[in-house]
Symmetry: C2
Subunit: 198 residues, 2 copies
């Protein structure tokens, strides 16, 4: 029976799902062509059709991580919070406050080592973080327009707030006892209150 | 000729130097027993005398990184700055503002993947970060006593400031063009000014 386009896409989806299972279980440190082949019960040779080199596998994994994070992430909608509440929701969505977001945060942090080693992956990461800062900057500007945040360069305030939550992610992952969810929220609210006062 | 204690220590130092050269060149992602053996021109078998397992090698590398960072880090002294200026200097010393501190920051970030995977390494990291927060907390309290920072729980303020600089390290490493040294310093000063106002 000839292979159809549907077969091809189904196979591609299977490969992506195997990559995601490995990422979730072991992070980027455990992601190799050999491991994906074993997960699929396929040969490493077959996998080179999808990923000619390891960096292609890592780039695909980074895409998957971004897609899954975006799907989970709070996004502005007609019904959702606006202004400062929307900024707070966006920043909270970065923090490891639940088992699910903790797992995703661990995968993100594990992506930084390969991303800092491979220039193309590094550019992918830089682009993603740049997009996040741009979104945060829009939310800062909206909160300022509503009089909820003090005046100031929205990009600069967004870069600071993004730094704050990224560093809090790292600390909370290493010391969950010192940074339970309520502590993380408290620290973020301290930061936002300082921005409100200006 | 019998081997002396001096021989033994010299050999240990050689091993440490080889580990450090590899870390500097490739980060934690490139650190394997095989790579250290190659760097030393020794067999992997000989290396197991120093590092029975890979985690022992990684733990030693983390120790070396901490020692080298501590040696470079600004530390309180009779002649140095006090109060808020001392807090600022301590936070600046974490940021990738020079080629040397950028290289060290990259190694730190590359240590997070193995440290989040291995519980013992994770505990080592948690302890180091806890010590950093405790030092920052003392500096916050001193700055408050001098009337340079607004009142508030020093530990909480220190945890926030530490998060801020760790996240700024990550962003600056991925996007050096968007975060040149003067931008990093400006963002840190924004954070400190907000703490001063309270």
């Amino acid at each position: 029976m000839p292979r159809t386009r549907g077969d091809h896409e189904a196979r591609r989806r299977e490969v992506s799902e195997a990559v995601w299972r490995l990422l979730a279980a072991r992070g980027f440190g455990g992601l190799t062509l050999r491991a994906v082949a074993a997960e699929l019960g396929a040969t490493t040779g077959l996998l080179t059709y999808y990923f000619p080199a390891k960096r292609d596998l890592l780039a695909h994994a980074l895409d998957l991580l971004e897609q899954r994070t975006a799907a989970r992430r709070w996004s502005a909608s007609e019904e959702g919070p606006r202004g400062l509440a929307a900024l707070r929701a966006a920043l909270l969505s970065v923090l490891p406050l639940t088992a699910d977001s903790t797992a995703t945060s661990r995968i993100w942090v594990s992506s930084w080592e390969p991303a800092l080693t491979d220039p193309r992956l590094g550019e992918d990461c830089a682009r993603m973080y740049g997009q996040s800062r741009a979104k945060l900057s829009d939310l800062v500007a909206e909160a300022q327009a509503r009089g909820e945040l003090a005046p100031g360069d929205p990009e600069r305030i967004a870069a600071g707030a993004h730094s704050f939550v990224l560093g809090l992610v790292v600390q909370a992952l290493f010391d969950a006892a010192a940074f339970p969810p309520e502590r993380q929220v408290q620290l973020l609210d301290d930061h936002l209150e300082a921005l409100a006062r200006g």
